[in-house]
């Protein structure tokens, strides 16, 4: 039995859990969110990704109820949530600072929301134990927040916000305060818990690696707009704008003019240089300005011109960034343009094939060069 692919956004019958309909948020003259319409589906792990000030936190605070949209509506399960105050929403939030109550123990922090629901004492105790077990915190139940480590605090915050079994969990930079190693381990833990509980997660982050790792879909934001919302793979492989291509991973952008050629386009970027061919079929008129986005790891570097490659350019190595497992070569091609090419260092450094000032050939496949209009 093959596993069915989880892609409700491609299923026209799927009912979204959250719908943003023409949502705009202004603070005075400043437009934080600019007329956004999009859906988030049940059981999704949805990431809002962007630099600080792009509006991702505002988006989340509107879902939690701490900000109200200036225009438009937000629906949760088909119901407008504007009139519902934050304390009545089936939405919980994990705060960036964790916002653990310093005067309460771990146990009481987790029980805090349950007590507000007037649950019976036994039911509360059972639920808290369950959450403690889920987040592996059972032995710290009696401690106060300042008596546990940063990673444990993060798990308490998660347990507290999950305890009420919300329809939707909002996570505001949940791993921002952890060091790099702990962050990686915690990312997998988060995915695991999301899968176990079946809760819809919306995560806000500025860390593209984190978004790519945990999310089923990533929405890249810029200046109050979602520029592209798609699976991590498509965001990386098929960015729709240079902003997205540049924001996710390393990239070389070459700007030129398009000419139709078979399935794709030829792009002329410099006087006298051979055009770059891209097999991407987007709607471009003859002579339109367009951009080629090239991932460094998809660019091969060689001493001789490789056989059978339509895209091959000659250049000179200006800089080499040695990263241990990888090396990135900065190669100057016609028109003074820099193209980055990355190779895995499978041999020892002393046996490196190329060095500064070497003239080399760069080549890539027809589909490697992504063609972008803006």
């Amino acid at each position: 039995m093959g596993q069915t692919v989880f892609e409700p956004w491609n299923d026209p019958d799927a009912k979204p859990l959250i719908q943003f309909k023409g949502v705009t948020k202004r603070f005075g003259d400043f437009t934080a969110i600019d007329n956004q319409t999009f859906d988030i589906y049940e059981r999704e792990f949805f990431a809002l990704l962007g630099p600080s000030g792009c509006g991702k936190t505002t988006m989340m605070r509107m879902l939690a109820g701490f900000e109200a949209p200036t225009e438009g509506t937000i629906l949760l399960g088909g119901q407008d949530i504007a009139p519902i105050p934050p304390n009545k929403r089936a939405v919980n939030m994990m705060f960036q600072s964790y916002a653990l109550f310093p005067h309460l123990s771990v146990w009481d922090n987790i029980a805090f929301g349950l007590k507000r629901d007037r649950m019976s004492k036994d039911a509360i105790a059972a639920r808290v134990e369950e959450m403690l077990k889920l987040t592996r915190l059972t032995q710290f139940a009696r401690r106060k927040p300042h008596q546990i480590s940063g990673g444990q605090r993060q798990r308490v915050a998660l347990a507290r916000s999950l305890a009420k079994a919300p329809k939707l969990l909002l996570l505001d930079e949940p791993l921002g305060a952890l060091d790099a190693k702990l962050r990686q381990a915690t990312q997998f833990e988060l995915m695991d818990i999301q899968e176990k509980t079946g809760t819809t997660f919306v995560i806000v982050t500025h860390d593209q690696e984190e978004a790519m790792t945990v999310a089923s879909r990533v929405a890249v934001m810029d200046n109050g707009r979602i520029v592209q919302a798609d699976t991590p793979a498509r965001i990386y492989e098929n960015p729709t704008t240079t902003y997205v291509a540049d924001f996710i991973g390393d990239v070389t952008i070459v700007t030129g003019r398009a000419t139709r050629s078979g399935e794709g386009y030829e792009v002329r970027y410099a006087e006298g240089a051979a055009p770059i061919y891209s097999a991407f079929d987007i709607d471009l008129a003859e002579g339109d300005t367009c951009h080629i986005a090239l991932r460094p790891e998809k660019v091969a570097i060689s001493a001789e011109r490789p056989e059978g490659r339509r895209n091959a350019v000659q250049g000179k190595i200006i800089d080499i960034a040695y990263l241990g497992n990888l090396s990135t070569y900065h190669v100057e091609i016609a028109g003074g343009r820099m193209v980055k090419a990355q190779t895995a260092n499978t041999r020892r450094l002393s046996r490196r094939d190329f060095t500064w000032e070497d003239t080399v050939w760069l080549s890539w496949t027809d589909t490697a060069a992504v063609l972008l209009r803006e």
Binding site: H146, Q147, I148
Partner: protein, 272 residues
């Protein structure tokens, strides 16, 4: 690491000697046998006995305590409310006047506050007594509470309240269950400050107290205007002792608590 230089050691020694010698002399001479305060005639605790048998002093002390407890409690409630308004309420009509009225009593000469309140009480026909002193003390000490509490509120992490709301608290519950317990130390020190100011006040109480209510400072004042008295020395010693025990205990307790917290945080960071 900072070292203690000769200059610093000297200035600290002289400075603290200046601060504490007068009080030390007062304490020593409160055990003086002689009625002549400046002549040492041997050790005795008889002035303490005289003091405790003097009903006027005991009555004044009781009045003062009652006034201080009631006025500082009302001042703490009103001052905390005022602090919340200053830090949280944003803009509202008359905000400038409000914050002006909060801060003004801090710098207002006591003679003016006392005079103006007295004229008000006479104007509305309120008999001067314990009630009028309480009203007066509440008014000027709530400003101090407001300043202490608002400076704590300014550094308060608002996301804690948002978390409480997010977990289902009403705004009032969020304040009661989260904000208040966390700012409690500031509220308590505000209360203590208001209490001390009330205990200590001579000028405003003199204006607003009638013949029916004499506070301890008023009583002390009428005795010492005529010169140094051994009974007052004994009383001063008792008051200094109470304050010293209170302040030293409080600072030891907070110091130990902060040391323990530091140790626990360090331990928590290591086990991670």
């Amino acid at each position: 690491m900072r070292r203690l230089t000769w200059f610093n050691a000297t200035s600290l020694t002289l400075g603290f000697a200046f601060l504490y010698l007068p009080m030390l002399i007062l304490i020593i001479y409160s055990f003086n046998e002689s009625k002549l305060v400046t002549v040492w005639a041997g050790f005795s605790t008889k002035w303490y006995g005289e003091l405790l048998r003097d009903e006027a002093f005991i009555d004044a002390a009781l009045v003062t305590l009652r006034v201080a407890v009631v006025s500082s409690t009302i001042a703490t409630v009103l001052g905390t409310m005022a602090a919340l308004v200053l830090v949280r309420a944003g803009r509202f009509p008359g905000r400038t006047l409000f914050s002006g009225m909060i801060y003004a009593p801090l710098v207002m000469p006591e003679v003016i506050t006392g005079l103006s309140l007295l004229l008000l009480f006479i104007g509305i026909g309120l008999d001067r007594g314990i009630l009028t002193i309480i009203l007066a003390h509440t008014t000027f000490s709530m400003a101090f509470v407001a300043v202490v509490v608002s400076s704590r509120l300014m550094t308060f992490d608002r996301s804690l309240e948002e978390a409480a709301l997010d977990l289902g608290c009403s705004p009032f519950d969020a304040f009661r269950l989260v904000t208040l317990p966390i700012i409690a130390p500031a509220v308590i020190s505000g209360w203590l400050l208001a209490f001390t100011l009330s205990l200590d006040d001579l000028v405003i109480a003199s204006f607003t107290a009638g013949p029916s209510a004499t506070t301890l400072p008023i009583k002390i004042w009428s005795s010492i205007r005529l010169g140094v008295s051994p009974e007052i020395n004994a009383l001063s010693t008792i008051m200094i002792a109470i304050v010293a025990v209170g302040v030293i205990t409080a600072s030891l307790v907070t110091k130990r608590a902060s040391l323990r917290q530091q140790a626990e945080e360090r331990a928590a960071a290591q086990q991670a």
